[in-house]
């Protein structure tokens, strides 16, 4: 397969995943901002969501107004990671490798893009919620079409690999912004507002129900940390994402009959999760832990690029 083809597939996967993540961040922020509280003003909540999004800011940009932040994250053409840009980039990448995709997958991605062209801007508040629901639906549709119709060959592995790498990155970024909320067991737990933050964080990644199933307990910060970092049942946890990345890279290595730096790096990273305990992670510093994971994930991205995509 041409490296450019693999690159387009990989990035189509990443952009779709990122669009979904942003839709979830925005949805959670709308919910959080609707709660009256003394500690967090509306604008500080939106500023936090901007940080969580990981979207690059333009130099000299002064984004403080909630409405501006909202539009910046959802629609702005100046923001290369806005939902609008992500869906457009996903479609551009998919179009350039159209013959590598099934008709079902292409029509899902192209259909989403067509719908995007028809939107009347700017959206009202209630329309925004509907839009975010729709974006999440698009990702589900893409996942479904991919899983149900694509051959399990290198095209499929690259598409999936992109999504997995992006998902790991998103979870880690989310944790990095919220790490101060995640406390070791026994620490004094904050008030009502913190409680809302945790539940919102869980909701952001559709994990509130999962939490209750796994821990059978009220929401405690150390459980939240465990769920998002080490729990292998949770598809979005760092450990799960890493295992997924390793699996897809191994399939590629098997198909190509060749293991390279990307496989070795991913497997080495996977070792960190084996037998890991939240206590130990808290002791050595959660923030440092997440920072180091983000750096490793970036290195892995570069290794994949070197080995396959360029």
């Amino acid at each position: 397969m041409l490296s450019r083809t693999a690159d387009s597939l990989y990035w189509a996967g990443r952009y779709i995943e990122r669009a979904d993540y942003l839709a979830r961040i925005l949805e959670a922020t709308l919910r959080l901002a609707a709660i009256p509280t003394k500690q967090g003003t509306e604008s500080s909540i939106w500023a936090a969501s901007l940080a969580t999004s990981g979207c690059p800011l333009l130099p000299n940009s002064d984004l403080t107004d909630p409405q501006d932040i909202r539009d910046y994250l959802a629609f702005s053409p100046d923001n290369p990671s806005s939902i609008h840009c992500c869906l457009t980039m996903a479609r551009t990448n998919a179009r350039s490798v159209r013959t590598a995709l099934t008709v079902e997958l292409w029509e899902t991605i192209n259909g989403a893009w067509n719908r995007l062209q028809e939107l009347d801007m700017p959206l009202r508040g209630d329309e925004l919620l509907e839009f975010l629901q729709w974006v999440k639906g698009v990702t589900l549709g893409v996942e479904g079409a991919t899983s149900r119709t694509m051959l399990r060959n290198d095209a499929y592995w690259f598409l999936r690999l992109g999504a997995a790498v992006e998902r790991a990155d998103n979870t880690a970024r989310l944790l990095d912004v919220k790490y101060h909320l995640l406390l070791p067991e026994g620490e004094r737990v904050g008030g009502q507002f913190d409680y809302f933050q945790w539940t919102t964080l869980l909701r952001e990644v559709s994990a509130l129900t999962a939490y209750r199933w796994v821990y059978r307990d009220d929401v405690k910060p150390w459980h939240v940390a465990d769920l998002m970092i080490l729990n292998r049942q949770m598809p979005r946890s760092l450990a799960s994402c890493q295992a997924t990345i390793v699996r897809y890279l191994d399939r590629l290595a098997a198909d190509y009959d060749n293991r390279g730096p990307a496989q070795r790096l991913a497997s080495a990273q996977m070792k960190h999760f084996e037998g890991a305990k939240m206590d130990t992670i808290f002791q050595s510093g959660l923030h440092e832990y997440i920072q180091s994971y983000l750096a490793e994930n970036r290195r892995l991205g570069e290794a994949i690029h070197q080995q396959y995509l360029s």
Partner: protein
């Protein structure tokens, strides 16, 4: 009255159309309308579109498809085939000579400056021999008909001719929509074209490429007007569709970047113009090309189809010499005629053209696609005067031809049969094993009543072309 493919000059139905005419007489307008709609829907869903330059509003368009096939008898086709083969063989010999010993210039048949200062002449190719010495692997020759036995070549198109995907898609569509018609006619197949093209390209691979050379299709990218065709052909050939950035040159060999490392490329079916092929040799601002490609090419390590520099043979000024070129290299009389042409670079011709602008078609020698031409009889006084100024300023840039009465063919307009002017572009493949022409080609039709311009960029449509087994 122009010659009509179905009715001739007005008398009886011509024999190739006998059964089709009967069928048309019995087909209900509703059926034809429904089938037209089905065809359009299908083309749109498949994204069989082309982009129109300088048209911002709707830059991806469908080429209108007309349901009524253009039918050619086997005997007519056999004549065309011989004529086309003669012509393309002569053009190959001409290019070999021009970039070699230049005998034809020494013999005084063509003024040397017309070749050597031609924009399409590539001095870089002087003294070079492409692998297997084939220059024009693929030609798309535009033919027009003016009478029962009157075919003329309008253009030779030996650079990067397009349209062959429509020949194949139109046939596919007709077989889908009207299987009963094919049962009634024995139509020669065009479906073998991709296989023939593949065999032909393989046969042109460099000597050291081995038994199974790697072929790629080089496209300028998704924004090119013919991108659909590029991806269509790559699919049919089972070749990678590459852009310049997918290729690189190392030690005068061309490689593509794949997920499993570099892979040598032996034949490049390129749909990128000469000027953009290699920024080291030609336009340094070209992002479409491959640095070092020309070095690999002149080292004989990669085949480009078509060769670099073929444009010097289909320039409209050189076109006027093709009959002489055929005589010079083959010793035969040309079988296919040229359209009579005035060379504005010659004083007598220019004088005549300036006096008859309102009757003539004037074209830029380097132009294509129906852009930048004057159609005298259809132009306003002001347009003619504006053109006169351009022509007087640079007469060597223009040629002029009479407005030909292109033949017409029955065409659907709102469910009714009307007569519209058409041309024909057969595709000629050349390899060391000789020439091969798919029986048929692309018939283009000027959909506007009375219009003689068939280019898709100017509102033309296409038809399926049937060559019958007599």
């Amino acid at each position: 009255m122009a010659f009509d493919e179905m009715n001739g000059t007005g008398g009886e139905i011509r024999s190739p159309y006998a059964k089709a005419a009967q069928w048309l007489a019995n087909a209900s307008p509703d059926l034809l309308k429904t089938r037209s709609r089905q065809a359009e829907l299908f083309f749109r869903r498949m994204g069989i579109t082309f982009a129109v330059y300088g048209d911002t509003e709707s830059n991806e368009r469908l080429i209108p498809f007309d349901l009524i096939p253009r039918i050619v008898s086997g005997a007519e086709w056999n004549g065309l085939e011989v004529g086309l083969t003669q012509r393309i063989n002569a053009i190959n010999a001409f290019l070999k000579d021009i970039y070699g010993p230049q005998e034809i210039l020494k013999a005084g048949i063509i003024p040397p400056e017309l070749i050597l200062t031609n924009q399409a002449y590539r001095p870089e190719m002087q003294g070079q021999r492409p692998p297997r010495d084939i220059w024009v692997q693929i030609a798309g020759v535009d033919l027009v008909r003016t009478g029962e036995d009157e075919f003329h070549v309008l253009e030779d198109n030996v650079r990067t001719p397009s349209g062959v995907s429509y020949m194949l898609e139109n046939r596919e569509m007709m077989m889908r929509l009207f299987p009963e018609l094919f049962a009634d006619h024995s139509v020669r197949p065009v479906e073998t074209y991709p296989d023939t093209l593949l065999a032909s390209l393989k046969a042109c691979a460099p000597e050291d490429a081995g038994g199974n050379p790697t072929i790629v299709v080089l496209t300028p990218g998704p924004f090119n007007s013919a991108y659909y065709e590029h991806s269509f052909l790559a699919d049919k050939l089972g070749a990678e569709l590459v852009e310049g950035s997918d290729l690189f040159v190392d030690d005068n060999y061309v490689y593509m970047r794949t997920t499993q490392g570099r892979r040598r490329v032996d034949v490049i079916y390129r749909r990128v113009d000469d000027e953009f092929l290699d920024p080291l040799t030609f336009r340094s601002d070209s992002a479409l090309g491959v640095p070092g490609l020309m070095a690999a090419y002149t080292a004989g390590n990669v085949t480009l189809a078509n060769a670099v520099g073929t444009g010097v043979a289909d320039d409209k000024a050189v076109y006027t010499y093709i009959p002489d070129i055929i005589r010079f290299y083959t010793g035969e009389e040309p079988i296919l005629k040229n359209v009579p042409t005035w060379r504005c670079r010659e004083a007598d011709d220019l004088k005549y053209v300036l006096e008859h602008l309102d009757e003539l078609v004037v074209k830029e020698v380097g132009g294509s696609g129906g852009y930048g031409m004057l159609i005298g009889p259809a132009a306003t006084k002001a347009e003619i005067e504006a053109f006169r100024a351009k022509l007087t300023a640079a007469p060597e840039e223009f040629i002029a031809q009479p407005t030909l009465a292109l033949s017409t063919a029955p065409t659907l307009s709102d469910g009714k049969l009307v007569q519209r002017h058409i041309d024909l572009r057969p595709f000629v493949l050349s390899s060391p094993n000789g020439c091969s022409i798919a029986p048929g080609g692309l018939t283009r039709v000027a959909l506007k009543e009375g219009s003689l311009v068939v280019n898709s960029s100017q509102g033309g449509g296409t038809k399926d072309t049937w060559v019958l087994e007599d």
